[in-house]
Every structure is written in C-alpha cells, then in structure tokens.
C-alpha cells in the first residue's frame, strides 16, 4: 500500500483461531486452548494460557493428548469455515477506519492512518471496535513504516501497560532504544532463522544492531530485501506493496484497483488472474491448497458499502488452475453487478506439500469422471477410512484430503444447522 506519507497501522487478532472460537464459546475464556492443524495433526495456535503451561506450537496432538486433562487444556480442530467468515468480518470492520486497507493474512492487516488522526486514539478505537462489534481481541502497532508498525504491535503484546496499542513515535526515544536493544534480530518482520544466524556472525544480534547497520553494507552482504528492512527500521518506508504474500501455510493475492470493478466480467478476470498466479506459485513451491477464500470490498469513500466473501473447500489438495479459478468464482455468488468494488483478492490456506499427490492425480481424474471418487467416499463413510482406497496410496495411509476434524466446534456463522445455541432457561 503506498500510504502517501501517512502513518501505517498494523492490526492483528491475538491468537486468532482461539479468539474466533472464544467468540462463540465463552467457556474457553481464560483457559488454555489449542487449535489443531487439519487432520488434527499438531498445534497450530495456542492461547496465552496454553503457552504459559508450556504448550508449544507445532507439537503433535497425539503427544499432547495425554497431558490435556492435567493441564486443563481444551483442544479444537481447525474450523476454517468459522475462521474464514470471522476474518472477513474483521476486515469489514477495519475497512470502516481507512481508505487504504491491505489484507495481509487471515488475521492481519495494514491500514493507512488517515491524516489528522491521533495514532494512539486511532489504535484505541480500532481495538475497541473489534472488541465491541465482534468480541475479538486485537493489538495495534502504528509507525512510519510497516516493519516498525509490526514491531510496535509486538511491543503492544509484550508490554501490558500499553494496553494493546503502541504508537511508536509517541513513545519515549529511550524506551524505544531499550526495547530494540532487548529484542533479538529474528523478531523483525522478514528476518528468519538462517538469516538471523548470518547476521549474528556479522555481530548483529539485536533489533537495535540491525537498525544501526549501514543499508548499503547490508545490501552488499545480503540483498536488497534485507536492506529495505534496515531502512524501514530507520523510519524510511521502503517495502513496496506486494500483490502476493507467502507464508508457510497461506498464500494471499490482493490489490486495490485504480478504477473500481463494477461488472461480473471484470471481477471474473481479476479472480481468474489471481487463480492462475496462485496455481503457478503453488507449483513453484511444491505445495497444494485445500481451501480458497475470495473477497472483494467497496471503497471507503463510496456510499454503498459491501464486503463480499466466499470460501471454497477444494475437493482435494490441488495446484490445478482450472479448479482454483472455479473455486474463486464462488465469490461471484456474493458480489453484485453495479457495485463499485475497490479491492479484491484470494487467499489460499491449509497449504500442504504437493509431493505424494502427484502420482495419484492423473489417476484420480479419470476416476472422478466415472464417479469413483464419490463411491470411494461413500464406502469410506459407511465402513471406515481404511476399508477402501485408490491405488497403492489409499489403503495404508489416510488420504491426505480426508481432513479428519474430530473436535470441530459448530460452524456457527456459515451453517444454518450449526448455529450457536442460546439458553432460555
């Protein structure tokens, strides 16, 4: 997002999956809660209380299960329908605060702070709005650059006195210096394990050390990307707006349009382009996607507000651009022709390694046409997953797309039969 000299706010939902679950299950408040990855494999989100009793991200559920009762731990399967819908609501609320919203991931966004707004007050109002309208806790960091805004957000989380909002430039310089000196360099956005190691060999240990580095030297020793991070830590906006973002298990493509998209045809073109790009990226990184979210929203300045969102569960993890395009087109069921959409995008979540699927895919396609996949599904449902499978991969292991979710909470905002219950007692 070219913020045009304005401050940037970074907003993210605290332990998003847990917080989304808590919005409909108040019993989970204040307790250790974990959400498991698809197939109930390992811990993908842990509440602060769970972390406090030693639960770590990535630990396999079968190992943790035995201790769950003793720790008072509640575990839930990934309810991606719920998380996708709640994420869309979060973004809809954030869209009320700025004309320049960049959806960064399923639970994070960057916002340009409107001119004339006091940053601290802006952050506080955002936090209050999410709590009041959605029951979801967020933290806000505001600074001159995205990297500093993310850092400020971290500070907002770590320092209780900040009460969830950190306006970087409003803090005392000595406090900022002290914080940056105490944080290891891998706490900076974009600096991961191996890069941090190389930086440490250059005697750059803390965030402060990196911020004090010479950008030109960093560019020569590493690359221009790390140089941009240094510039951003020094208060100079340098990271260009990327249409694509990749995480370990999420891929997002989105942009704002110079001229709003108002027709079905226009929206189809946008979605089709993103789906093709997404497919190419998946192939490049040897990943397959299981869920495709698509979204579009109107301009902040328009009189008619509309935020469209759709979610498609892909029949099997795929890299096929045709399948992805069709899934993206689901959004067209939610958009209206004539409405001026200023922003659209697609997000792929629950990515998994593509390897292991490849041998099966051409095989499965043939069977799909003859309804065999459906037949297999029906037999498995009646007699169990191990009763029948396709080819040599099907019997010995559960198919990668079976998506076992044994501890699934109700999909309370997307399924009429699973609405949250209120007691009249």
């Amino acid at each position: 997002m070219p913020a045009n000299g304005r401050l940037i706010a970074h907003v993210d939902v605290n332990s998003a999956y847990v917080s989304f679950e808590r919005a409909f299950n108040p019993r989970l408040e204040g307790r250790p809660v974990v959400v498991l990855s698809n197939n109930d494999g390992c811990v993908v989100t842990a509440s602060a209380e769970a972390k406090a009793v030693g639960v770590q991200l990535g630990v396999p559920w079968f190992k943790l299960r035995a201790d769950a009762d003793r720790l008072g731990l509640a575990a839930l399967s990934s309810n991606y329908e719920l998380y996708g819908d709640m994420s869309a609501r979060v973004m809809q609320v954030l869209g009320d605060f700025t004309d320049d919203l960049e959806i960064y991931s399923i639970d994070e966004a960057f916002l340009a702070v409107p001119t004339g707004e006091d940053p601290q007050d802006f952050g506080r109002r955002i936090r209050e709005a999410l709590r009041h309208r959605l029951g979801v806790p967020v933290c806000v960091g505001i600074a001159a650059t995205k990297t500093l805004a993310k850092l400020a957000n971290k500070a907002a989380k770590k320092v209780a006195a900040l009460d969830g909002v950190c306006a970087w430039e409003s803090t005392r310089p000595q406090w900022r210096e002290h914080l940056m000196a105490s944080l290891p360099v891998d706490e900076v956005w974009g600096i991961a394990g191996r890069l941090a190691k190389r930086l440490r060999r250059m005697r750059i240990f803390s965030v402060a050390d990196l911020a004090a580095a010479n950008p030109a030297t960093v560019r020569d020793r590493f690359n221009v990307v790390v140089m941009r991070t240094v510039l951003e830590l020094q208060g100079v906006p340098a990271i260009p707006f990327e249409e694509q973002r990749t995480f370990k298990d999420q891929l997002i493509f989105s942009r704002s349009f110079a001229d709003p998209v108002t027709t079905n045809t226009g929206m189809r073109q946008v979605l089709s382009i993103y789906a093709q790009q997404a497919a190419a990226r998946l192939v490049k990184y040897d990943q397959a996607a299981k869920i495709l979210h698509a979204f579009a929203s109107t301009s902040y300045y328009g009189t008619e507000k509309h935020h469209a969102y759709s979610l498609a569960k892909l029949g099997r993890p795929t890299t096929d651009p045709t399948v992805l395009t069709k899934a993206a087109y689901r959004l067209l069921e939610q958009t209206h022709p004539g409405v001026r959409y200023a922003r659209a995008g697609i997000m792929l979540t629950d990515l998994c390694p593509a390897a292991g699927q490849e041998a099966l895919e051409p095989f499965v396609d043939v069977h799909e046409d003859r309804g065999i996949a459906t037949l297999v599904d029906q037999v498995q449902r009646a007699t169990g997953v191990s009763a029948i499978g396709l080819g040599c991969g099907g019997l010995a292991n559960a198919p990668a797309w079976s998506m076992k979710r044994e501890i699934l909470s109700p999909r309370a905002t997307t399924h009429w039969d699973e609405l949250a219950t209120v007691k009249a007692l």
Partner: protein, 149 residues
Amino acid sequence: MVKVLGLVGDRQWSGPFPVALERVAAGFPSPAQDYYDGPITLPAELIRDEAATFIVRVSGDSMTGAGISDGDELLVDRSIRPEDGDIVIAVLDGEMTVKRLRLTSRGVLLAAENPDYPDLPVGELADLTIWGTVTFCIHHLYRGFRRAG
C-alpha cells in the same frame, strides 16, 4: 416547466426512467418522487451492522412471554449497547443466555419471560458480560417449509 423526455413509443428514446411511486396530481410533478431501487431484500431491512450481526438458535422456553420460543432463531447485533427493557444475550457461567435486561434502582436484573423461570439479579452492569442485543426473532409457523435448492 415540463421537459419532454421523449414520446412513448418513440424508438429512439430508451433507458431507465423514474417511476412515481405515489399519486401525482396531473400537470404538477411531485417534488418528492421516489425511485425504484430494487425489490425488498430482508437483510437490508433486518441488518444494521453486517459484521456485528449474528444468528443464534434458542434452546428452552423461559422467554415465551416475549414471543421467543424454543427452536426460534434470533438476530443478535453485538454493536448495540442495550438499554432497560431490551432483550439481550448475556454470558452466565460461560453459557450464552437470552434474557430481558432490566435496569432498576436496586441494580441490574436479567428477567425471564415465563413465570416458571426465575429472574436473576446481577448487581452492577459492569459485572455483566453482554454478548449482544437481540433485534429480531424468527418464529417458524409453516411446518411444511422446505428451503429452495
């Protein structure tokens, strides 16, 4: 002053035109003419804050006096700050519960709407967790109802 837009039946003139939605005295166009804006859509009428509106289902009959029956759906707007007399969803012992909010001189009361159920004094409003304010109740009447598609 009358502006001739075109003659009815004139093939050269086409396009959307405003339709008067109320009686117009011949010769004098009403200054407050309405325009056709599409058919009535329920979400537009029933939802004020889309992001903050949720639908829940009722279990139990403590609120029948308010016209809320077991199995009804309720539209709940989390953004509305409730006032005395509003139907709210309150969190009691970790459960989402539907009650009528009463702000009395002796403190806050969560009232049932059925003599078979007790009212609950709560104390201070600050001690109470209000999940949201109920805006509408959907009560099913036609037993043979089946959704389209």
